[in-house]
Amino acid sequence: MGTALFTVFATVACGAALAVVLSQNVVRMAFYLVISLGSTAGLFFLLNADFVGATQLLIYVGGTVVLLVFGVMLTASGPFLTIKSSPGDLVQAGVVGGLFLGLVAFTVLQVDWEANAVKLERRYGATSLERPGYNQHGEGHTTRSLGAALLGARFDKDLGRHREQPSTGYLLPFEIVSIHLLVVLIGAAYLARAKRRVSPSRDA
């Protein structure tokens, strides 16, 4: 069952990503991008990361891509905008991309993940997600632990285990991201504010 679902989601995600590259119409690209990102959310659910999957759907698919399509609509001069790249570019990029993919795949296959996992487990103990006393996979329990981790408490590391010092959480990065988002909000509003368009007829 898991394998079948993985096959479906992986095929759709990769296929749609290829379609993004090959398609020339921007809105179709956005559509394929949505499909690719949505199937990736499915992969996240398969990996028991339900909160990340939901965030992916809400922010990426429902927010970012809508923003992109909105941008396409604002900047489209004709009804269906296509700016074609030259075939030479496409072939060149395809060859380089294929070589790069081969390199990455080769590297991934070279690593012995099983042995690595065993080695890591010997050094650092069992994965925190598979420790007794911490039921992560039971009912999709990532939400509460993730929220606590973002506020600096690590349920997944400290729960049911004695530690001299509590493990580090992500409070500081969380705050930095909040400030960052505020800066982005202001910056984007500043950059995109209505300006006098430079056109020869109305140029003063």
Binding site: A10, L74, G94, E121, A188
Partner: protein, 103 residues
């Protein structure tokens, strides 16, 4: 998840990443380039979450993925603002026309 190990997920991540890079390199539409960036970040996310499940990353991987998603949203907002500003000045979103600084 019987059967599919970490390699399958890493493979998907690699394909998404490479597609994103090729997309960034070939598209002449500014928004198309942005979509390439989204694909790249998404491929990285797949790896993060896969390592959090199969590797030794635990919840840290998922937290990293969350931060990547938030960063991607922020990046898209700013980049879109830049594209709109570019469009205001040049009446096109073709990135090859952004050559005013060429020496």
């Amino acid at each position: 998840m019987e059967g599919v190990g970490i390699n399958g997920y890493l493979g998907v991540g690699a394909v998404l990443f490479v597609c994103g890079v090729v997309c960034m390199a070939t598209k002449r539409n500014g928004i198309g380039v942005l979509m390439g960036v989204e694909l790249v970040l998404n491929g990285a996310n797949v790896n993060f979450v896969a390592f959090s499940r199969f590797g030794h990353l635990g919840l840290d991987g998922q937290v990293a993925a969350l931060f990547v998603i938030v960063m991607a949203a922020a990046e898209a907002a700013v980049a879109l603002a830049i594209v709109l500003s570019f469009y205001n000045n040049h009446l096109t979103v073709d990135v090859d026309r952004a050559d005013e600084l060429r020496g």
